[in-house]
Symmetry: C2
Subunit: 340 residues, 2 copies
C-alpha cells in the first residue's frame, strides 16, 4: 500500500466555508507529509484565506477554481441540474477522473449524495449509498449506518449496509471479521417489524460475523463493531445523542458556575473536566463516509470548526490508504458469485 | 377534584419484587396522606417485607393476595392465558372494578400491555395503546410516545398518539394547548417516509397545537411538550439515550478516579457533581404510562430501585387526580363528532 494520497476539498462548503476548510487543510498537510490537497472553489476567496494563514499553493497544495457554490438549503435536484461548476461537483469530478483519491465536503448533504451518486455511480451489487459514521463507545468505537440517506429500506438494503460496514471496519482496522449488529427493539412480544426480521435472516446467512439483534444502548456499550439500521432510525438515534450530549454538558457547566463555591470547585476540577470533554468531543468523530459509491466521499458536519474538519480530511485519507472501496467491491463480487 | 386516590401495585413485578415495591409503597404513603395503596401478590412475601420495614396493613395499606407471578421473560400471550391469578392481572382487575384508580407494575412489559388491553379495553376511537414517558429537557420536560408498544404505525395511529400525548400534558399541567412535534429526520431531500408525511397532514388538521416536524435533538432541547413517533423509533431513541448517559457518567467517573490528584479534584467537586447527577437522574423519570386504555396503568422500569419505583407510583396517582383518562376520551369524542 502506497502512503501517498490526494484529497479534493469542497473549500466553499459548510457554514463557514474557506475560513474553516483552508485552515484545516493546512493543518493536515503539516501533519501528514504523504498528503496532497486540492482546494476546490472560488480562487480569490481561497487565496485570501491562504494569505491570512501565511500560506500559498505548492507541490502538495493546489487550488482548482470552481465558480459556483451549492447553498446549504438548496434543493439537491436543482443544485445537481443547474450548478455544474459548483465546488462540490468539481471536487467529486476530481475523484471520478482519479485526480483525487477522495473528496470531502461540509456542504448540503442531499446535494452531495445526489451528485456523488450521479457522477461516481454505485459499486456493483449495491443499490443505495449509505451514510456511515464512527461513534465513541465504552470499548472504543463503532460504525453506525445508515444515518439518513435512506428512509425506507428493504431487508436487502440492510444486508448491503451490513456488508459495507463490515468491510469498512475490516479495511480500516485490518481485521478479518468485525461483528455486525442489527438495531432493533427489546420487548419480547414485539421484536421488530417485518423488514428487520427478514434482514436478520439475510444477515445470518451472509457469512458476515453477525451478532444478531441489538438495542439502542448497545451502540454506546460497544457491543458490536458495526450497527446496521435504516436511515430514519439511524438519523434519529444520532440526533438524539447529539441533543442529549449537549444537554448534559450544558447542565454540567450550569452546575459548576452556579456560585462562587461551585466556580472554585470547577477550577480545581478543570483538568479532569477537560480530559473528560476530550474523550467525548464529537469533533473527533466528524466525517461521515458515503459508502457504496465508486469513490471515497466524506461528509463533514456543516457546522464543523477547523479541528472537526481536520478529522473529516483524515477519515478520507484513511479510507483511501486502506482500500475501503476495493474491499467492499471484492466482497460484493464474492457474494454475487456465491449467489449465482 | 378529590385528592383521594387508590393505587394497586403489582408487588411481585420487576427484578426485585416486594423488596422494592413494598418499600416504595411505604415511602409514598408517608408522603401523601390522601393516597391508599393495595399491594397485590403473595400475602406471605408481602407481609415479610412489611415486617422487615416495621409496618403492617392499615386503613390506607391493603394486601390483596394473588397466587401467581408473571416471569420477566415469559411469553405475554401465555401469561395472559394461563396466569389468571397473577399479581399483575389482579392489580389490573382492581382498576377494572374501580377498587383502584390506577395500577403500577415493574413486570414484563409485553404481558402488562396485553393483559391491560384485554381486561380494560381501549378508549373509544383509540386503536392502539401507546407507551409514553417523561424525559428531561433543557427547558423542563417533554413526553415522548410511543416508546415501543407499536412497531408498525399508520398515520392515524401517530395522530392518536399526538392527541393522547397532548391531553396527558394538558391534564397534568392544567394547560390548554401543549405543543406537539412529529419526530422526523432533517435532510431536505429526504424528509421522512410516507407515513410520517401523512401523519403530519393529519396532525396539522387536528386542531392540536401542532409544531411540525422535529429532529432527534429537539427532544432534549425541549422544543415541544409532546414528541410523537412510532414505537420502533421511540424505543431506539430512548435506549440510545440510556446508553449514552451511562457511557458519559462512566467516563466522568473514570476521569475523576484516574489518580490521586483527580480523586482530590473529585472530592472538591463532589457537591457539584451530585447536584448535576440529581438533575439528570433517570430514576426521577421512571414510570411510563400506557395511554389509550380505559384505566390508568403505569409501567415501571424492571430494574427500578425503591426511589425510582416511588416515582412510578406518584405518576399513577398524578394521572388519576388530573383525570387524564377523561381528558383523552372527551377529546376523542369531540374529534369523532367533528368528523361525523
Amino acid at each position: 500500500m502506497t502512503n501517498d494520497v490526494t484529497v479534493a476539498i469542497d473549500a466553499m462548503g459548510g457554514d463557514h466555508g474557506p475560513v474553516v476548510t483552508v485552515a484545516a487543510a493546512l493543518k493536515c498537510l503539516a501533519r501528514d507529509p504523504a498528503l496532497t490537497i486540492i482546494l476546490v472553489g472560488r480562487q480569490d476567496e481561497i487565496e485570501l484565506q491562504l494569505r491570512a494563514q501565511h500560506a500559498k499553493p505548492d507541490s502538495r497544495l493546489h487550488i482548482h477554481h470552481a465558480t459556483e457554490v451549492v447553498g446549504m438549503d438548496e434543493s439537491p435536484a436543482l443544485a445537481m441540474r443547474n450548478k455544474k461548476d459548483s465546488s462540490m461537483r468539481v471536487a467529486i469530478n476530481l475523484v471520478k477522473s482519479n485526480e483525487a483519491g477522495a473528496c470531502v465536503s461540509a456542504g448540503n448533504t442531499g446535494a452531495l449524495m445526489a451528485t456523488a451518486r450521479f457522477v461516481l455511480k454505485m459499486l456493483p451489487g449495491i443499490e443505495r449509498p449509505a451514510i456511515a459514521s464512527e461513534l465513541p463507545t465504552m470499548k472504543g468505537r463503532t460504525f453506525v449506518l445508515d444515518l439518513g440517506a435512506n428512509v425506507d429500506c428493504t431487508p436487502e438494503h440492510l444486508l448491503q449496509f451490513g456488508i459495507m460496514g463490515a468491510m469498512l471496519v475490516s479495511a480500516l482496522d485490518q481485521r478479518e471479521a468485525p461483528s455486525v449488529g442489527l438495531l432493533n427493539i427489546g420487548e419480547e412480544e414485539i421484536k421488530g417489524n417485518e423488514i428487520v426480521k427478514q434482514a436478520a435472516d439475510l444477515l445470518r446467512q451472509s457469512g458476515l460475523n453477525f451478532y444478531g439483534n441489538i438495542e439502542g444502548d448497545d451502540i454506546y456499550k460497544g457491543t458490536t463493531d458495526v450497527v446496521v439500521c435504516d436511515g430514519f432510525v439511524g438519523n434519529v438515534a444520532l440526533k438524539t445523542s447529539e441533543g442529549l450530549a449537549k444537554m448534559i454538558s450544558t447542565m454540567l457547566r450550569e452546575e459548576f458556575t452556579r456560585n462562587l463555591f461551585t466556580r472554585l470547585a470547577g477550577l480545581v476540577a478543570l483538568p479532569v473536566l477537560k480530559a473528560f470533554k476530550k474523550r467525548v468531543d464529537p469533533r473527533r468523530y466528524n466525517g461521515a463516509t458515503l459508502l457504496g459509491l465508486r469513490g471515497v466521499v466524506v461528509k463533514s458536519h456543516g457546522g464543523a470548526d477547523r479541528y472537526a474538519f481536520e478529522h473529516a480530511i483524515e477519515q478520507a485519507a484513511r479510507e483511501v490508504r486502506n482500500n475501503v472501496q476495493q474491499r467492499i467491491s471484492e466482497k460484493m463480487a464474492i457474494l454475487q458469485k456465491d449467489a449465482a
